[in-house]
Symmetry: C2
Subunit: 336 residues, 2 copies
DNA sequence: TTGTAGGCGTTATCAA
DNA sequence: TTGATAACGCCTACAA
């Protein structure tokens, strides 16, 4: 049988064993004060022998800090978000913080009650800049430190970390234009504010050219929607030269279905997305995409949050540099 | 400016406002006792007006429960694990628990100190059954409730949730055998105990047949290793009829590199993996795989853990039913 | 049905 | 340099 959960030693036990006061133990283990070599040795020894480690909850009750950070992501199955989590986890580790991951995928927005409860048990929150207004308001009301990701902060009082969505679109648009493509379709995800920005960026890249634009709306930024919309986009009306999607997941779904429909990419139509997820690189054809620096965004967001919690006053809207990754889906098929 | 973090109301404030004792408030909000309609109304109203919610840490100090569960995953970028997390998150939500995700990817094994610290701040832990022995021992010493995933528990005293790895291999082997394939290579990941079991299952499926087996070792179960080993497996010696990999990520890497090498799948060689991740289905050729029920495993593990925490005495080794997903990579290419 | 009071493990203030 | 001791916010016997 697993050992019963030990009623572990308390700071008082340690203090007694080391023949010092609890205050001394506390200050010493927290490194907030030095003591005589003798005292320190005794305490260290007592801690060792009793196998004591401090109770984070008891500590939290007086310090008001839990040592936990919450990160609210919109879909844990989207590699873009898992990369963010990875980045955030790394900085968190450095700062000695734990990451509580809340997946909002099931409900369109995380439920208010759940979010409030989460806010109550963390020292800060990393959340998407595209949470709906009422959710944001509830969040602000809790007074919890917040850093937003994905786009500019919905309230100028808060930090944010993102890439420039317009610029990302523009880079991609420029690439398509240079490839001589002129009929451009876009599968957007209007729920995300920056879906429109990406699209605007793409379009603006064709300034001064005769180009034809058309856009479609995905109900969710997932492969299944890409698959669903494929026939609409490819087989109704005349075929575009290129299809840009709000994210790589939509693009991957689109690619899969295009293949099923017998439409050749990029020979008949080019395809490109955003996020630069791994599976875009590995697929056939490999997917042209704009790297939105998922991992770096997560890492930076956590860093900013740690700063805020530590009492930093300055506010940042970090904009990381994105990068166009040109691959087969907008250029040419490898032999085979 | 974000509002300063409010010094929120305490249970005493509520008690005073409702003209009752703190005990009454406590019992009422925890649902551990009913009171007269009048009292309940007054308390409810006071809670509302003061916007009070209890401090989880203060509560934890007396109850000994944090309301947090830790899940230690080996690579958050592997869709197999994110699906597990998703499943775990769902049951956690139902049970009102939070999920602290610890990614062990960077270090081979999670560092002992980190794990101990984590154990200290959660009510239970979901961890891989393939953690190295010293880590396990440290874990057991903490007395934290643990549920293992991926394989049978490393210690018979603990719960576990997994699929039958041998059976999964056998199902896949059977499929390959039925397809008339006889020269089978395996890219394993020896660090995982069940890599060998899967391989044994595959081999046993050929009982009574003249078959030729060969195996290779991946240093990590990631696409890059699949890419790296591709040329070794495909171009040294004579080409196998089929290559089975420890997981889908290896297979995806292998497929990508095979394509680069001009080796056609499945015409020249069949490829199959384990886990049935989404990106296997979407790729070209789509990937044959055994669905190891990632999400269900996570969900079940969390459920078991909740039971243990609630005081359940019976021990379970849940074995979920896996399922072979036959796709193009072992059958035939779609036109194009 | 409701209240009193002590205790949970730690930190922080202040005095020695 | 060290120690008493009062918080911290909540839970829970036990009492009324």
């Amino acid at each position: 049988m697993p050992p019963a959960r030990k009623r572990s030693a308390t700071i008082r036990d340690v203090a007694k064993a080391a023949a010092v006061s609890t205050a001394t133990v506390s200050k010493f283990v927290n490194g907030s004060q030095r003591f005589s070599a003798d005292v320190e040795a005794r305490v260290t020894r007592a801690v060792q022998e009793l196998g004591w480690s401090l109770n984070p909850m008891a500590r939290g009750i007086t310090t008001g800090q839990s040592g936990n950070i919450g990160i609210v992501i919109l879909d844990i199955r989207n590699p873009h978000f898992t990369s963010m989590v990875k980045g955030a986890a790394r900085s968190a580790g450095v700062a000695g913080l734990n990451l509580i991951v809340a997946d909002a995928a099931e409900s369109k927005a995380p439920e208010l009650a759940v979010l409030r409860a989460l806010a109550r048990r963390v020292d800060g929150l990393i959340v998407s800049a595209r949470l709906p207004q009422p959710v944001l308001q509830a969040l602000f009301d809790t007074g919890t430190p917040v850093v937003f990701y994905g786009g500019p902060p919905p309230d100028p009082a808060y930090h944010s970390v993102c890439c420039d969505n317009y610029l990302a679109g523009r880079m991609l648009g420029r690439h398509l234009r240079d490839r001589g493509l002129r009929k451009i379709s876009y599968i957007g995800f209007p729920t995300a504010r920056w879906s429109a920005e990406r699209w605007r960026g793409v379009q603006d890249a064709f300034e001064g050219e005769e180009a034809r634009f058309q856009d479609y709306e995905a109900a969710a930024p997932v492969p299944e929607e890409g698959e669903r919309l494929a026939s609409v986009v490819l087989l109704s009306g005349d075929m575009p030269d290129a299809i840009v999607t709000f994210n790589d997941l939509l693009a991957l779904g689109l690619l899969a279905e295009a293949r099923a429909l017998g439409v050749r990419v990029p020979e008949q139509v080019a395809v490109a997305g955003f996020d630069n997820i791994t599976y875009g690189r590995l697929g056939s054809p490999s997917l042209t995409s704009v790297d939105m620096m998922s991992e770096a965004v997560g890492e930076m967001a956590m860093q900013r949050l740690a700063e805020v919690i530590a009492g930093a006053q300055t506010r940042h809207e970090d904009v990381l540099t994105c990068r166009l990754m040109v691959r087969e889906s907008t250029t040419r098929q490898t032999p085979g």
